[in-house]
């Protein structure tokens, strides 16, 4: 959004009637927008509101339901204090499944990065070797990304059985789609000049990618992988709900058994773990960005 510069604004305030008429003649659309354009924002808001009202009606929202639900939530919050699973042995179990969750997130992200890295070069316009390969990889990545992590977990449980390994594979598969797309976008955004430099010295396609593109995209890719590790710690906390390891199984069991103190304990542990990983990955990301700058 550009803001009119001060001198222009000054002149406008001192404009006489003639110059206003001139302005009107020169910019008719600024003074007399077509009615439809002027009505458009109101139309959009009205449509959005109508759809929202329809949805509220369809999903049977009602003040009474909302009030009883909120009151029940309040009761639960009271029952959550103090957050404690009932004994040291139980607490140790929760810490262990939390460790499992972090492990699932870490290994899943690492594997996803390793697999998405080469595929991204196929999916990027400036590094792929054929348009058909690019189209196929892109659509493949879209398909993989369209299926939620929980569904992948259910599919992998068929292969390796219940347990955290299925979780690792689920995180890997669903992130493969997302990271592949992000990496290929980073590659496409890379500056052409280093590539042209390598090409001008007679470097092959492979060398152009290795010395022209790779040094530019590596810090970006590392940053994105770290960011995904962080967000995967959150999502791998839930795949236990379908039996793929981690703290999710414990959490859903506690909720179904109305053990609110245990629920609160698990949620607080997840919050702490995510905060720690957030801090570490922030430091690492900053180091990577600085390192990248130093190399340039």
């Amino acid at each position: 959004m550009t803001i009119p510069s001060a001198p222009g604004a000054m002149r406008l305030t001192h404009a006489d009637a003639a110059s206003i008429a001139r302005m009107r003649a020169r910019h008719p659309e600024a003074f007399h927008a077509p009615p439809l354009r002027r009505a458009a924002p109101y139309l959009i808001v009205a449509l959005a509101t109508a759809l929202a009202v329809f949805a509220l009606w369809r999903f049977e929202f009602s003040p009474v339901r909302l009030a009883t639900g909120l009151a029940r939530l309040g009761d639960m919050a009271v029952l959550m204090v103090p957050p404690w699973p009932g004994g040291l042995a139980q607490a140790w179990t929760v810490v262990k499944v939390l460790g499992e969750t972090v492990a699932i997130a870490f290994l899943g992200t690492l594997l996803a990065t390793a697999f998405a890295f080469p595929v991204a070069f196929l999916a990027a316009r400036n590094t792929t070797f054929s348009g058909v390969a690019r189209f196929l990889t892109r659509r493949g990545l879209d398909g993989v990304r369209g299926v939620d992590m929980l569904i992948w977990a259910l599919l992998w449980i068929n292969v390796v059985g219940l347990g955290p390994f299925a979780g690792v594979l689920a995180v890997m598969t669903s992130d493969f789609g997302a990271l592949g797309k992000l990496f290929s976008e980073a590659i496409e955004a890379a500056d052409r000049k280093p590539v042209e430099g390598v090409a001008s010295t007679g470097g092959s396609h492979w060398r152009q990618v290795r010395f022209g593109v790779l040094p530019q995209v590596l810090p970006v890719i590392a940053g994105q992988a770290l960011y995904f590790f962080e967000s995967n710690t959150r999502s791998s906390a839930i795949i236990g709900i379908v039996g793929a390891g981690g703290i999710g199984l414990y959490l859903s069991e506690q909720i179904r058994m109305f053990e609110w103190q245990g629920v609160a304990f698990a949620i607080i542990l997840i919050l702490i773990a995510v905060a720690i990983i957030d801090r570490i990955s922030g430091v690492l990301r900053a180091a990577i960005i600085n390192g990248g700058v130093q190399k340039l």
Binding site: R65, L73, M76, I241
Partner: protein
Amino acid sequence: MGSQADHARHWREVQRRKRGHTLIFCAGLAAATLWSAWMSDVNLSKLFGNIGNFFGYFDRILTLDSGPAMGRRVWTAPGEWLWGLDKWLPLLADTLLMAYLGTLLGALGALALCFAPARNLTPNPWARVAARRFLEFCRTVPEIVFALIFVVAFGLGPMAGVLAIAVHTAGALGKQFSEVVENIDMKPVEGLMASGAARWPTIRFAVIPQILSNVVSYCLMRFEINVRGASVMGFVGAGGIGQDLIEAIRKFYYADVSALLLLIVLCVCVIDFLSEKLRHALLGREAHA
């Protein structure tokens, strides 16, 4: 002044330090990998022994398992395969509607909360920290966990799912919005404050016009994410198409699994495509303005 030998030594020194850093990094990565492999019961022999099951599963879900066309590939008898379309399409529409309402309510919440954590608009550090922690809580607790709890509080059905999506969305969008707010041009804000405007008029006339296009763009992106999220809300009884999907998976209705997955993936792809077009159109108009 450093001589050539000095330079060479310095260069070797720098290289050595860099190699040392790389070595430490690789060792750390290897240790973390081994630890997580041990923690998560990685069993490669099981994986490679049963990898056939993975492709076998796709083979089975793509084969009709009952009816007159039994044993044939699903796409040879689309009528048989998509038999439940009359039931599934409304469920899919419900899923989209859940994502829409959840995104809308969450965005409204985020918009109400996003000015408090912004450094440039809220000088009080306590209010800032409190707002920030609250948003962090909303987005760190996964939406399925909120859904599990809300199903107990509000009863089974899409209402719990919508509220879960809304709370999570408020946390995620609130952070993104407040970052946008921190990056605005402060001159209009100063202008309004100089003329004696109160907090809300300042925000309405100096901040909102600057952040609106980014806000809309983030909302559309979050809607894409929420469509995916809404498709699994049914796993915990919080409405949408997920209920039918998990039933089909658990009860081994193979052909139904592939039909439902196809519908979900198609729907997600179409939404992604449309929202990307819309976002580019919005940002394009912004660039021209």
